[in-house]
Amino acid sequence: MRAALWHYGKLLLSSLVLFLVVLTVLFFLLQLAPGDPVDSLIGDNPVSDEFRAQVMAAYGLDRPLGEQYVIYILNVFQGNLGLSFGTSQSVSELILGRIGNTLAIALPAFVISTIGGLVIGAIAARTRSKLLDGGISGAAVALFSVPNFWLGILLIMLFSVTLHWLPTQGKAPYGQEGIYLQYLILPVITMASTELAYKARIMRSSMIEALGQDFVDTARSKGISRRDVLWRHAVPNALLPMVTVSGYSLGFALAGSVVVEKVFGWPGMGLLMIDAINRNNNQVVLGVAIVITLSVIVINILTDVVYGIVDPRLRARFSGKGRTA
């Protein structure tokens, strides 16, 4: 048990340090940005003197750099990501209003790509048909090489413009609230495709590796049927790298959602960021970057926890009964 506490304590600490490093880098990028610091925060947009003073006060821009840095970090840890220029809305609130929409496409895409990648990768590793394996591997490389947004555009051209089956933009018919299923289909497919190709490749190679291990031969020689060897011995071992890969890729999928949201005009966090870039609204840009980073870090911690549960070696170590390596 103590081993587990030690392990996760260390993990939490190093994650915190990593987050601080990212914040520090973002802070100094902001300092390095050309022009007046207030301008780089609010963009070169006309704002009232009152708002300018508000920003100056909120970030202590009149104070020494070290103090500004501490204020910046403390603000972030209190969930204060600053104010959006013009509307003076809180950036945290803006992001909170959008994050649900991003998850609405990221999570289904994650589930589809993970299950699909598992099954397809396992089939490619197992099959005796060179044609099938080659076909799957070839399709994976192709899918891997397609620019994600172009695939989305092609899907729109086929299913929306030509066939009129699905809508092109947005998450609901004009004037409607909520998310409609037919609006969800294309963004989710677009987002899942690249991930699926990546996961299928990883699954295939780790499955081939598992099938070549001694314990597979041992199981076979004990007279266990081919099918049981596959599902009870090879697949569980091949799954371990998949846990990690899926976890890490979920974080990157959040970054990728920026592109997918732009293609489909999906009002999530990513579209918020793009709009902010176009309007030089740097506070919002940084805010979204911070939220994405934080999500990736949290997902990585969760991945590690899941890994500890799934991997019997770690489980044994944590319960204190395992061999000490």
Partner: protein, 310 residues
């Protein structure tokens, strides 16, 4: 996390290594050794190699020499949104410009960014990865930490932030993509150097009294090259994809529109000008696919031991 059972990061690294598998079972090769030569020969004996190389050569020629023969990419000399025809192979865009000329010109940015980023990544990867693997110590810590950093701050996000703060041009994009992508190459160099360091010929070089840096330069790095070349090849593809995503999002260099930027403006004309969205995307796809296939095939030739176990 050396005391833990394999940490997720290590497992991931292992999984990625399996994709760009270093030659685990391959006998140690001396520079110019027989074994390596035959591996390269196997690669250059495959007909598919010439297909991929041919496609890439064609795209490079078309992008850098082609514009001299094509029309003016900025002159609005024609009717707007003319579909492809015998006279105008790719039709015209929404302002009446020759689209073929624009697509050819767009290739320059994409290819330039892809190759520059890959070369920079390989250089950084060899230097830092080699030092980290061979000496450990400070370089090792830097490598591990920086790799961790870019695992939580994805390249695309950092590039977007920098573009917002500094404005985007080709140089900024090349620098940012190189900064974010080099750890992938460095990790492979590091693993290879650590493996090679254990081999007999490094020991004999040490015994012969050669200096450590000289051993790293003339014995370790040359033998680490095969997987590094594979990783560098793949980096070209990834860099082109990220650059195209950036310029699609509208943060590229607006003076010289790349393929991604063309797709950005094409999206407004999906119903009236399908060719505007089709051809630049097809170009990206073909180049990245050829690069990835080349990398895969190179990987297979250089790692004959990694086959399917049956």
């Amino acid at each position: 996390m050396s005391d833990a059972a394999p940490s997720p990061a290590e497992v991931l690294a292992a999984a990625e290594r399996a994709l760009a598998a270093p030659p685990t079972g391959v006998a140690p090769t001396r520079p110019g050794g027989r074994r390596r030569t035959s591996l390269w020969r196997a690669f250059f004996r495959k007909p598919s190699t010439y297909i991929y190389l041919g496609i890439l050569a064609l795209m490079v020629l078309a992008s850098f020499v082609g514009p001299a023969f094509a029309g003016d990419p900025v002159a609005t000399a024609y009717q707007k949104l003319l579909p492809p025809s015998g006279e105008l192979l790719l039709g015209t865009d929404h302002l009446g410009r020759d689209y073929l000329a624009r697509v050819l010109q767009g290739g320059q940015v994409s290819l330039l960014v892809g190759v520059s980023v890959a070369v920079l990544c390989m250089t950084l990867g060899l230097v830092i990865g080699g030092l980290a693997g061979f000496f450990g110590g400070f370089a090792d810590i830097v490598l591990v930490r920086v790799a961790e950093f870019f695992q939580v701050l994805p390249a695309l996000v950092l590039a977007l932030v920098s573009a917002a703060l500094f404005g985007a041009n080709e140089v900024v994009i090349i620098v940012i993509l190189s900064i974010t992508m080099w750890p992938a190459v460095a990790r492979i160099v590091r693993a290879e150097s650590m493996r090679i360091e254990q081999l007999g010929y490094v020991e004999s070089a040490r015994a012969a009294g050669f200096r450590a840096l000289r051993i790293l330069w003339s014995d370790v790095l040359p033998n680490a090259m095969p997987p590094v070349i594979v990783a560098t090849t793949m980096t070209v593809g990834r860099a082109i994809l990220v650059e195209s995503a950036l310029s699609y999002l509208g943060v590229g260099d607006s003076n010289r529109p790349s393929w991604g930027a063309l797709l950005n403006s094409a999206q407004g004309y999906l119903t009236t000008g399908w060719w505007l969205a089709l051809f630049p995307g097809l170009c990206i796809f073909v180049v990245v696919l050829a690069v990835n296939m080349l990398g895969d095939s190179l990987n297979d030739s250089l790692n004959p031991s990694i086959g399917k176990v049956k």
